[in-house]
């Protein structure tokens, strides 16, 4: 009796586990599906979940949008899977961002940018250059002067490795300021922007380059000072933060959030997605959700977005070559 009970209890557990896992598994190909090429949590997952929810709420699609998490290789596993198996699936969209384009530019995806059709960007995190509240650097000009005079005297950090987007946009600033040997600037990698900021508050680092959204709390509490926002216009939530452009450094550094679909999808299906996403972008729901998540809503879609993505890839490849990340 006792052993039977236990076996059935174990069976129940196994069944429960199966149910849990099924809920995460992809459903039949008919439904619309958004693949987040990462584990749950984080930017790509947010993109899929929020866009999926609003598409349904606005009746832009039939039923729910299935969200699939396919982590691996910073999006490379998804890229390979879509190319091999789903390249003409008209019901599939995949979340991507500046991070994905950086990986492509550095040859870390199985194939190039032309393999997929890029649909559009719906919002962006704004990059900022931050220092601790008690830092000796009061303005971007002072920081740039110190960097150009002796790059190795300034310890910089952010949420990406060397050659990642946080690093590259800081280098764009340094290059615009006149630094020639970009590899002489010290860069320390952290897992997130807040990790880097807290280490900066502890006195280990001088400068942090990362997205504003994640570290906004420290700006409001007065623990850190933002020397420059890498946006074309001042950020609505923080109108007092000067842009780099207003300080004579012509650099922007958005971390945009957008979507792509398979490379062999018909023009008809492609245009339909672009149209749906534009409607979604214009909705009250998206504008609120994006701002809540710390994003600035920005729309670039269709052919214009395809061009934008290709230009960005080129800039990233050039600077990666300059700092020796790729040959």
């Amino acid at each position: 009796m006792g052993s039977k009970t236990m076996i059935s209890a174990k069976l129940a557990i196994a069944t429960a586990a199966t149910v849990f896992s099924l809920s995460a598994a992809p459903q039949a190909a008919q439904a619309n599906e958004c693949i987040a090429p990462s584990s749950p949590g984080g930017g790509w997952d947010f993109t899929c979940r929020t866009i999926g929810r609003i598409l349904t709420e606005l009746n832009l699609v039939d039923g729910n949008v299935q969200i699939t998490n396919m982590a691996g290789g910073v999006g490379a596993v998804t890229y390979a899977t879509v190319e091999a198996k789903r390249s003409d699936d008209p019901n599939l969209i995949v979340a991507t961002s500046t991070v994905g384009i950086t990986q492509i530019a550095q040859g870390r995806y199985p194939s190039g940018i032309e393999t997929m059709r890029y649909l559009g960007m719906l919002g962006a995190d704004v990059g900022v250059i931050a220092v601790a509240a008690d830092s000796k650097y009061e303005t971007l000009a002072q920081l740039n002067e110190a960097i150009v005079a002796d790059a190795s005297s300034v310890v910089t950090a952010g949420s990406s490795g060397a050659g990642g987007w946080d690093h590259i946009r800081l280098l764009l600033v340094a290059r615009a300021a006149g630094l020639e040997d970009l590899s002489s600037l010290r860069w320390v990698q952290f897992d997130g922007g807040t990790d880097a900021v807290t280490q900066m508050m502890g006195g280990q680092l001088d400068v942090v380059s990362t997205d504003l959204g994640e570290i906004a709390g420290f700006v409001e509490s007065g623990d850190i000072r933002i020397l420059a926002a890498l946006s074309t216009d001042p950020i609505p939530a923080f109108p007092d933060i000067p842009t780099a452009i207003s300080q004579g450094v012509d650099v922007t550094g958005y971390n945009w959030r957008g979507l792509y679909t398979g490379g062999n999808v018909s023009d008809e299906a492609y245009d339909k997605w672009v149209e749906r996403l534009k409607t979604l972008y214009d909705s009250e729901e998206w504008q609120t959700a994006a701002v809540d998540f710390g994003l600035v809503p920005i729309w670039i879609g269709g052919a214009e977005f395809e061009t934008y993505v290709r230009e960005q890839e080129k800039i990233m490849a050039d600077i990666s070559r300059d700092i020796g990340i790729i040959e």
Binding site: G2, S3, T5, M6, I7, A9, K10, L11, I13, A14, A17, T18, F20, S21, A24, S39, P40, G41, F46, R49, T50, I67, T68, N69, M70, A71, G72, G73, V74, A76, V77, A80, Q106, R108, P110, S152, V155, G161, A162, G163, R186, W187, V188, Q189, D191, G192, T194, T198, Q199, G202, G203, Q204, E214, I215, G217, F218, E220, S221, D292, F293
Partner: protein, 502 residues
């Protein structure tokens, strides 16, 4: 007084019927998820996040549910460690060392009771710490730099040597193997692939939980197959289904020591529950292993790491809430969820959303009590698991392992990795090489390397940075003292054992 009124506010939030129901559900689901090999708190929380969105819960309700699941998993993880020698989740690895021998000697009920009570006390100590000192501790933790973290990991590894009684050279080999496997994947500092053999599946490295399930569950199955061919396994005789209160009380000091060590590890954002469990066990062994009973079913060897990993998990909420820096994989997922619910953890969270923070703290007190009440009566039920013949139980365990591992990433590749590690585990166990140091190498290796790389990036390659702060110097001195003490104790034990054996 201010804290009391804040807590009062918290309990008024936590006692709302919806929140109570979520708490109970979360504790129960968490215990089950945690008990299954391969499924741990990260999966539990990740599985339930869509649920919170689907029901449209607000941030407070979601956070209460997910924290209950998180705590439940930390309780549940110990069950399969003790009964099956298969850790339910990563920090539960240390519990296998003495928990499984206890179960084999027929003391499964005691081991489960001790670990349940230790989990309760560990978590309670940490929640009290969270209540009293959260903002202050968060401020102190930021002065812990990369070089100091590296020193902390060195300390953890130095103490691993004393973990298992067998040949120290094999322990070292096992730990180094783990460290080596931890380097697979994209180099975090430069993004360059290492040992990936061109496969994108290996870019993110080996997921420790996949390796862990393979090493323990699959290799156990292989041993079973071998055994069944040769002979019938001897059923373990249960002495009792009811835990002995005296034994449980006897572990109280071990539990308290483990709680404090674990809490410190939890508060440091770069450490976490696994490190908390390792340090608690190692320190307890140094303090209490007078008769060389550790690793052979010493109740204190169960109490210390369980108290340690539970207090570390609760402690990890401090940097998560007050700095926005997650100290563990689970808190990272919770952080992402909070942000998507428009709650930005960080220095202002305590001022701006006191009902959320204190509601959570009050819920944790209640979740902890609920889990203790929920878990103690289940001891009888779980203990009966020992009566199930292995040939019937193991296939089910393996089936659950496959489902669990597949559900992490929806990837068949991970299943192959798991089987590969199962074969590796089988070979190593045949060679009498313990697996625990390997798992710890794999678990702690990545963070240890990252912090070394960060320290050296800051100094521009100058190794002097590693001993440039008083924190790191203090940790190295403590490590050295630790090693000298254990050599001394080992020498003394060798003299003593023959007389005591008689």
């Amino acid at each position: 007084m201010e804290i009391l009124s804040s807590l009062g506010l918290g309990f008024s939030v936590a006692l709302q019927p919806l929140h109570l129901a979520l708490l109970l559900f979360g504790c129960f689901a968490g215990t089950l998820i945690g008990a299954m090999p391969g499924l741990g708190p990260v999966n539990g929380v990740a599985i339930l996040i869509p649920l919170t969105f689907a029901f449209g819960f607000d941030a407070t309700a979601s956070l209460i549910l997910l924290s209950a699941v998180y705590f439940g998993c930390m309780y549940g993880g110990r069950i399969s460690s003790i009964l099956l020698n298969i850790p339910g989740d990563e920090p539960a690895v240390m519990t296998t060392l003495d928990g499984y021998p206890m179960a084999q000697q027929g003391h499964a009920a005691n081991a489960l009771a001790i670990s349940g009570v230790a989990s309760f006390i560990g978590a309670t100590v940490a929640i009290i710490g969270l209540t009293l000192f959260a903002p202050m501790l968060a401020k102190a933790a930021i002065y812990f730099g990369p070089a100091d973290y590296f020193a902390l990991y060195i300390m953890a590894f130095a103490t691993i040597g004393g973990l298992s009684g067998v040949d120290p050279r094999k322990t070292l080999l096992s730990a180094l193997l783990g460290l080596m496997i931890a380097t697979v994947g994209l180099d975090p500092a430069t993004g360059i692939p290492r040992y990936t053999t061109g496969s994108f599946h290996l870019y993110d490295g080996i997921d420790p939980i996949v390796a862990l399930v393979g090493l323990f569950a699959i290799s156990e199955l292989l041993f079973l197959l071998e055994k069944t061919i040769k002979d019938r396994d001897v059923a373990i005789r249960l002495t009792t289904w009811i835990p002995d209160v005296k034994v449980v009380v006897g572990t109280l000091w071990a539990t308290l020591r483990g709680s404090i060590v674990g809490f410190v590890a939890g508060v440091l954002p770069g450490a976490g529950a696994s490190l908390g469990a390792v340090m608690s066990y190692s320190i307890e062994k140094q303090v209490s292993n007078k008769n060389n009973t550790f690793g052979k079913g010493d109740p204190r060897g169960v109490a210390a790491p369980e108290a340690g990993n539970n207090s570390a998990s609760a402690g990890a909420l401090i940097p998560m809430l007050s700095l926005g820096v997650p100290g563990s994989g689970t808190t990272a997922v919770m952080l992402a969820m909070l942000i998507s619910l428009n709650v930005q953890p960080g220095p202002l969270l305590f001022e701006r959303q006191p009902d959320l923070v204190w509601g959570l703290v009050a819920s944790l007190y209640m979740a902890n009590v609920m889990l203790l009440i929920l878990n103690l009566p289940l001891i009888g039920l779980f203990t009966r698991l020992m009566a199930v013949p292995t040939w019937a139980l193991m296939p089910l365990v393996v089936a659950v392992s496959f489902v669990g591992v597949y559900s992490i990433s929806n990837s068949t590749f991970d299943l192959y990795v798991m089987i590969g590690f199962g074969l590796l585990g089988y070979v190593l166990r045949k060679l009498d090489i313990t697996l625990v140091p390997l798992v710890l190498g794999l678990l702690l290796g990545t963070d240890m390397e990252n912090n070394l790389r960060r320290a050296l990036s800051i100094s521009g390659g100058d190794f002097g940075v590693l001993v440039a702060s008083w924190i790191s110097i203090g940790l190295y001195v403590a490590t050295a003292a630790f090693l000298i003490l254990s050599v001394f104790l080992a020498a003394r034990d060798r003299k003593r054992v023959p007389t005591e054996a008689g």
